[in-house]
Amino acid sequence: MSIEIAGVSRRFGDFVALEDINLSVPTGKLTALLGPSGGGKSTLLRIIAGLENADSGTVEIEGTDATRLPARKRNVGFVFQHYAAFKHMTVARNVAFGLEIRKQPKQQVAERVAEMLRLVHLEQFADRYPSQLSGGQRQRMALARALAIEPSVLLLDEPFGALDAKVRKELRDWLRRLHDDVHVTTVFVTHDQEEALEVADQIVVINQGRIEQIGTPDELYDQPASDFVLSFLGPVTTLGGRLVRPHDIEVTTAPVPDAVPGTVTRWTRIGYEVRLEVTPTDGGEPILVQLTRSEAVQRGVSDGAAVWLRETAGVNGAHSPVPA
């Protein structure tokens, strides 16, 4: 295990940012800390980096107790949401910073910088200043700067949070491919469940200072340990008193056993997807249902139609009763 966190707690005044966190981050894997804003995930990341101190508990990095080690001695690469680019230095000097601090020979620094810039596809921008780069380019520069020092672990704090949706998506794919090449143990913080599900090998769901669940994306999505995890990782709706995913609901236009009868009260089509709002015949909250367009056409589901809903058989949904 590359990072071992044991019994870490952190308070800011009365606010409990983290409470008794125990976590092992596997070597060479991409781990996501996922959770809502203010849940403590960034604080945890900063504690691992040494940019923040824990009130109690220990942090071990690659077998060394780092709890009392200052940030500069932990050999971690840290990437900030807003890039933290050194504005008065060129891209090449930014990337060289950690190596120059380590007093490496000039020739060696130059080679390493060139190698890093190739890795992040910024070779032709070496002599530019950060202000002359786009957000995505700045973040790639920040990543090259963090990787240049050959860190034991790479920590990314909402790395794509400040970027627009398209660049975000591109960088996310690129990070995954980069990680497959470089294999450095990586922890990144995100509040975007899609980002975590798509990129991470392991996801740690953190909410209100506590770990809700740790698992692979499939485990979390299919076997959520709590309603919080279920609803945070994707859309949910209530069917027959249980939380289910809207796309795990089977819709029929003829009565079937154990199904909830209702009427389609809203019919929205978004591209290939059809979203229904079904009001149950016996009253209660409308149920949300997601279908593909072809399913909707095949089954003859239209606006105002009488339908019967039941959970799709054989789906590993969270069969947890809705709390009263």
């Binding site: 040494g50 940030a71 500069r72 840290f78 933290a84 950690g98 020092i149």
Partner: protein, 287 residues
């Protein structure tokens, strides 16, 4: 744009006439009078022994005051921006005090505290061989006092704006506190710092009231350039007074020119470096 052409030109005229009558015309008269008896007289007036000495003293005092204000200005700015502590707002207000208090009062206060015969620290310091009042250290202190806020008020908004992320990044890359300060913090605030230094140099060269009290105005010993101007003027040596005044005015104008030339050259930090005395938090998204 608001207003029609008439309003615009009327406004411009009013402002120009006002500035002309208040500043440009009187100052230009100083220049005119300085050279009234020709360049030779002007040059002689300045190279006269006591005047030359006074300018030398003024320069030494100004340089020391600026050095002290730069070092403490950076320290105080870092304290104000990077740390929260009880009395932070009070400290921030206190720093503006030299701008609002009359320099004469500053001089008297220093005299009371450091006077050689009955000041609070004066006799002890004098016993240790350091004369403060009626000597160069006192003049430097008085000058540093009045120009204290100038560096701080330039740096604080820039420090606030750049935040701490760059410094944290430097630390995570292995830099220690000094390396981070020298390689990251100082370059980030350098234009504000230069601006503050130039302003405080200009202010230091021209200080009169506080210096007059603490210096004792001893010709050839503790008499600074501004004091020479006053003395020459009162002794009816008008040309000499104007000549010295002209040099002081020229130095101030030169400082302003330097500052103006510096401004457009640093686009990223120009907007904050230029905005003096606005310690408002400007959260600028770097994206």
């Amino acid at each position: 744009m608001t207003g029609n052409r008439l309003t615009r030109y009327t406004l411009r005229t009013i402002v120009l006439v006002y500035l002309g009558l208040l500043i440009v015309w009187p100052v230009s008269l100083v220049a005119k009078n300085a050279f009234a008896d020709g360049f030779g007289t002007f040059f002689d007036a300045l190279t006269e022994e006591t005047t030359a000495y006074a300018f030398q003293l003024t320069l030494i005092v100004a340089v020391w005051a600026v050095v002290i204000n730069t070092v403490f200005g950076i320290l105080i700015s870092l304290l104000l921006v990077r740390y929260t502590f009880p009395g932070r707002r009070a400290l921030s207000a206190l720093i503006d005090l030299p701008l609002s208090v009359s320099p004469v009062v500053v001089g008297l206060a220093l005299l009371l505290a450091y006077g050689g015969t009955n000041g609070w620290f004066g006799p002890a310091l004098e016993g240790a061989g350091l004369q403060v009042i009626y000597a160069t250290p006192g003049i430097i202190m008085a000058t540093a006092f009045v120009s204290l806020p100038l560096v701080i008020r330039e740096i604080v908004p820039v420090l606030t704006e750049i935040g701490t992320e760059q410094e944290q990044a430097a630390r995570s890359l292995g830099a220690n506190a000094w390396q981070t300060f020298r390689r990251i913090t100082i370059p980030a605030i350098r234009w504000a710092l230069v601006y503050g230094v130039v302003l405080s140099l200009a202010r230091s060269l021209g200080e009169f009231g506080a210096v007059k009290i603490v210096s004792g105005n001893v010709v050839g010993q503790t008499q600074t350039a501004t004091l020479v101007v006053e003395e020459k003027y009162q002794n009816f040596e008008q040309t000499a007074a104007y000549a010295s005044s002209f040099v002081l005015a020229a130095a101030a104008v030169l400082a302003l020119i330097v500052v103006t030339l510096l401004r457009p050259g640093h686009s990223e930090s120009a907007e904050t470096a230029g905005a003096t005395a606005t310690p408002l938090r400007t959260e600028k998204d770097p994206a």
